[in-house]
Amino acid sequence: MRVVATYNIKGGVGKTSAAVNLGFAGAGEGHRTLLWDLDPQAAATYLFRIRPRVKGGGKGLIRGSRSLESAIKGTDFDGLDLLPADFTYRNLDIVLDDTKKPTRRLAKLLAPLSDDYDLVILDCPPSISLVSENVLHAADLVLVPLIPTTLSTRTLDQLTDFVAGFDGHRPEVMAFYSMVDRRKKLHRDVMTQLDSTDITVAGSVVPALSVIEQMAVQRAPVGAYAPSGKAAQAYANLWAEVSGRLFGTAPAR
């Protein structure tokens, strides 16, 4: 079982869109996929038309009084399941802090799912918190959507430095350009500048397209309602890179 997390401290950069569309692509390829919506805003949960409620709340899941399995819902898409968000997730940091090995709790809870799933995607809330620290320890790959502006690269530097300081398991960190508007010189310049550094950036770019914004109206992954468009192709390309890193040799950039 491989775990990938979509993570950025900043909100509105395309984490949930990436998580949902990569989950759709992974399941479409035959990987048994679980998406855990860890954000109390429950955007991914909303997109899949699932009620944002977990019996026993986040506390029940973290403490183990409710199993993760009991909370999982099947989406409309074969091979793709969702562990919904719940508004009580806003207190997950407090609950986690009360556990043994508070930064490793999510990894421990996910481990028993390895018989049932090939791929777990963690859609993380935009924050620096004990939840995000848990996610970084649980993930094999941390996927960081970056709107190519100057400030966004600073947050990537912070994350990379933070992960570099881990003892033991360290996730791979890979950024990808999200909501890109190539008409904007700033976007073009930042992308060129970052490409010349040693930061790992995916070759696939997700453009700013209204069809992606339509996800909130369609309440489905882009690949379900616009399968032959540029957005679906962009996410398919991104998935190919992610899948290569998770399950095999990474494609050439």
Binding site: I50, I72, K73, D76, D81
Partner: protein, 509 residues
């Protein structure tokens, strides 16, 4: 939950009833070819599974289904039977079925063709909570006929209560009780076949008070049926176990004739013993090579000095020899001699009819079991540390005779009580088998190595690896020899003598 209806008339009213509570989509109708797959001896069914392949216009799916109808594993992929495990596409289904399948091939045990109508049942958020699949199909194999319409209620994960609600609405609207039989069982119902209907074991209904002639004839007919059903798979080389089961049927027939043939005085027993010996000898070389090839991976694994790849030229030699011997086998099985044997044997077995008189089967069984046990015990007791290997080989034959008799007459005695005796006999036979097999394989390996050396086809590393194998075989044979005393003592202990006496007395009543 699945409901079965004689025809599709129930589906529309069921959907109309559901539409009062849920949103029901129009659904998508797709042509479907469905194949159920299992090994010839039903290994998946015996593991509690059915394997269903569903092929649509753009999909091909394998689904492994448990006894309760739940999906155990599913994957995209297609199997073209007959298919051995290496021909099954990689995925969670293959991972589950590999162990029970082992060397056997998957065959199509039933096929149907039709269309599946998948209807989504949506909640207030327009989320699919349940899928209804209405299956309208016509069976193609094993017989061509229409099949009842199946309406499957498949709740998505986490929506089981919605699934139960949908099921209640359907039952209330159009009736029906949840179908508990697997789809495969329905497909085979009334065709003369049933899941699990073949086993290589001796499975004959006998009664202690029936005439011995009738009982022995029933056993011989059963063994001949086993031979016949395995013949086609042997000729087509579907997998190695068709030949194995065919040979076991032949060996059991020879034993039955030798040990109990006197119960059928009109049968030319000696003639058939000779003919079945010919048949057994005909099939031996190909089977021996099958066994070497099946064990080759384990042999490679067992090497500690040589590299596994060093045995690759030996593997190539085995494959070539096997191809040659199989061609000879096929020719032999196509001869007039075999055709006559089958025809005459069937005719003679039929001519026996159902004798109504004569010694009761139970009495004969008790007598023969007792003789076989005492013969084995006496010969075994005479073996010492200095006895030649041939004495152990002969003892193994006596052990086989007792084992076959226990198999033939299993219906006549309490198998639970005989269990420990049978286990101790098996332990003894395993030891004797290991001893003899090691000796035979050592000789065979030397022959293979000499031929490889003479052909100049093998590097020195291969010959050294084969030498390492013969050394391992020698050590295993020595270990078996050392273990013989304890195994025989366990088999011949007073408790087993009493068990045998009780068994033979029980068989007689």
């Amino acid at each position: 939950m699945t409901y079965t209806y004689a025809d599709g008339a129930a589906v529309e009213p069921a959907l109309a009833a559901l539409a009062e509570t849920f949103t029901v989509s129009d659904g998508v109708s797709t042509p479907v070819e469905r194949t159920w797959l299992d090994t010839f001896d039903w290994r998946l069914y015996r593991s509690g599974w059915t394997l269903e392949q569903t092929i649509g216009p753009a999909t091909s799916e394998l689904r492994l289904i448990g006894g309760d109808g739940a999906t155990i594993a599913r994957q995209v992929g297609r199997i073209d039977p007959p298919a051995r495990i290496e021909q099954v596409p990689a995925g969670p289904v293959r991972d589950r079925i590999a162990a029970p399948m082992r060397m056997r091939a998957l065959l199509a045990v039933a096929r149907s063709s039709g269309h599946g109508h998948t209807i989504a049942v949506l909640d207030a958020e327009q989320k699919t909570v349940v899928r209804l699949v209405a299956d309208h199909a016509r069976q193609l194999e094993p017989v061509a006929r229409p099949l009842p319409v199946r309406l499957a209620v498949r709740p998505l994960r986490g929506y089981e209560s919605a699934g139960r609600r949908v099921a209640r609405i359907i039952e209330s609207a159009v009736g029906g009780v949840p179908e508990t039989r697997p789809a495969l069982e329905i497909a085979l119902a009334g065709t003369g076949r049933a899941p699990g209907d073949y086993t290589g074991k001796v499975d004959v209904r006998l009664a202690a008070d029936q005439p011995a002639a009738a009982g022995i004839a029933a056993i011989l007919r059963h063994l001949f049926d086993t031979f016949e059903v395995n013949l086609e798979g042997t000729l087509d080389d579907v997998d190695t176990e068709f030949l194995h089961d065919l040979r076991v049927a032949v060996r059991r027939t020879r034993s039955a004739l030798k040990l109990t043939g006197d119960a059928l005085p009109d049968l030319p027993v000696d003639k058939y013993v000779a003919e079945f010996k010919w048949l057994g000898d005909l099939t031996t070389p190909a089977r021996d090579l099958d066994v070497y090839l099946l064990h080759l991976p384990a042999m490679k694994e067992a090497l500690t000095v040589a590299e596994p790849a060093d045995l690759d030229p030996f593997g190539v030699q085995l494959e070539r020899r096997r191809a040659t011997e199989f061609r000879k086998l096929k020719r032999g099985l196509g001869t007039v001699r075999l055709a006559r044997l089958r025809e005459n044997w069937r005719a003679d077995l039929t001519a026996i009819g159902e004798p109504a008189d004569g010694q009761p089967l139970g009495a004969l069984a008790g007598q023969r079991l007792g003789w076989a046990y005492r013969r084995l015990a006496k010969r075994g007791a005479a073996i010492t540390d200095t006895s030649p290997a041939s004495d152990l080989h002969r003892l193994r034959k006596r052990g086989k005779e007792l084992r076959y008799l226990l198999e033939f007459f299993a219906a006549l005695y309490d198998s639970a009580k005989a269990g420990p005796l049978v286990r101790d006999l098996k332990g003894l036979q395993d030891c004797l088998g290991e001893f003899q097999d090691c000796e035979v394989q050592t000789g065979a390996l030397r022959g293979f190595a000499e031929d490889l050396a003479a052909d100049g086809k093998a590097p020195a590393a291969t010959l050294l690896a084969m030498g390492e194998l013969t050394e391992q075989l020698r050590r295993r044979q020595d270990a078996a020899r050392r273990e013989f005393g304890a195994r025989f003592a366990r088999f011949a202990r007073p408790k087993n003598v009493r068990r045998m006496a009780a068994l033979t007395a029980g068989a007689s009543t």
